[in-house]
Amino acid sequence: MKRVALLGMPNTGKSTFFNRLTGASARVGNWPGVTVDLLAAPILLGGHMVELVDLPGLYDLHGFSDDEKVVRHFLENNAVDLAVILVNAVQVERQLSLALQVRQLGLPCVLLLNMADEARQYGIRINVQEMAAQLGIPVVLFSAKYGDQQGEVQRTLAKTLDTARPVQLETVRRSLESDDAIEQTMGRIMEAAVEVPPRLSDNLTDQLDRLVLHPWLGLPLFFFAMFLLFQAVFWLGAPLQDGMEWLFDTLRTNALDPALAGAPEMLRGFLLDGIYSGIATVAAFVPIIVLFFLFMAVVEDTGYLSRAAYLTDALMARLGLDGRSFVMLLMGFGCNVPAVMGTRVMRSRPLRLLSMLIIPLSLCSARMQVFLFIISAVFPASQAGLALFSLYLFSFATAIVTALLFRKHFRSNEPFILELPPYRLPTLRQVLVRGWLEVRHFLTRATKIIIAGVVLVWVLTHFPMGVEEAGPESYAGIIGHWMEPLLSPLGISDQLAVALIFGFVAKEVVVGSLAVIYSLQGDALTQHLALQMDWVQAYSFMLFTLIYTPCLSTIATLKAESRSNGFALFAVVWPLALAWGVSFAFYQGARALGF
């Protein structure tokens, strides 16, 4: 099988192109550094079976950030039959440098000028034939997102592959070491083939930026938008969740209960009160989570993330971080794992580590489910949005405190230079693909980790044989009893100890465990919960759940990315201590104030 690699600067549409050719759903976003690892898929190109490889973007073949190293390492160790260089046609004046570097490697290559649509809007004219003649390689102007010239692109790739002769890896390695002056060549080609209007007109991006990047309105606007978002989550999400709960309840009373009526009590309890109601309680959140991710996908594709980096860099600099760390916190709202991996764009190790230390404090969608559940049980509807929003503020606050405390151990002087892409809108297809990706992700988690967690909680609450369910004699009760001295000052009841312990595996398990612990489902569970805890206890429990420890996948990622067991351990122990401190201060404080 021949190997075709996609090379280009960050944010030039490599993953968009990869998705279009392979039908895969690689993550796409209007932010330089979305792809930080290799992704390969087989396709048929002309008469060739080809392995197409999507790579992280790189600015320069001699760059040193971890995502750039991924590309170098790939080129040094894998024979590539064709290098496809993607360049943003609007910015060809600067991105041509990378194309020239890649051409120097001696690999067969094709230059694809992407974003033909935007180039047209900007009034940029490119003489493709002339450029191809000057470069001595095929050039096509196209759009990966909207599909213009797609046929031409495929034909060109196939034709180049027909005649491509393999290059010795040794040759590639040697040319990666050298770097001839390319500036003159760039100047010559630009002169001959590209026409850029002298002054870009004041476009929509400029007008929006005047508001979004406003010196003192920018940040308040950001928080206000966030507040509206969480209001909307409740407003749209609550009915959806109710509907799902009703569906699962109905399914149980009308189909499952009768079907299992003859089964032994133990088995019935295990299947229905254990697995079914645990999973159903979690699954009721799927529509909200999908909605939330659709929204995140839109935000990521608008180009707002780079703006957020601009707005927050001054603050983050004082914490020993930079604007990108803040963006990773925002990405962490979806899931902490890709956010931790996203720190690969940082070159300085201390800066990366400090960012990785705060990212797990970002309130991810799994924790959001726990909070939606508890908030809707304990808080009146009018305050629900505010309660959720306040937890996000806590999430930022704990990240800030953590960075402040530890910044002196993670000093770096990495420069902060970032592109600001134009605002873009995702296509409906892009948004749907992303939503589907998240559903699939949830289903894999649900069928593995969440079931396992729920089953374990069921076992612990029902054994040894014959004890009262989740009572003091059950294993769960015994564990709760041990933890009592630690948890009761936080206002957290013994019964919830097992939920917290297994929530460490995946935070959604906390919700599932509640159903198992109380042997209730749907409305009955919500009502019971409201009787079990007042708002102070509920909020303390939520603060603890928010901070206490990253989930297993995040810990595994932290360990892999930091290549340090010590760091991974610290990233678990510190939040645990912080969670205890924060919940203690909150609970005791609120009680002392008479709440």
Binding site: Y59, R94, A314
Partner: protein
């Protein structure tokens, strides 16, 4: 008195919003230099300061068709001729 001494060069970080200038020198280490070059900071290139961040936040610079944000401290290394 030595009146021949040249005036200290203007730094990118000193420009005001709306001001345009031409890059005259880049005093960055080779690693940062590569990144700057890839983002369009090359000697002789014309640039424009779009805005300056609040509380000594970064500068928003436009170089041809590319917009870049850069910390003031890093912009110090770039000399410009107004």
């Amino acid at each position: 008195m030595n009146s021949l001494q040249t005036a200290p060069a203007t730094r990118l970080s000193q420009l005001n919003p709306g001001q345009e200038a031409t890059i005259s020198a880049i005093h960055a280490g080779s690693e940062v230099g590569l990144r700057l070059a890839a983002l369009g900071f090359r000697i002789g290139k014309r640039l424009r300061v779009m805005r300056r961040g609040f509380l000594s936040g970064p500068l928003h610079i436009r170089l041809g068709t590319t917009d870049v944000i850069i910390r003031r401290q890093d912009a110090l290394q770039i000399h410009v001729a107004v």
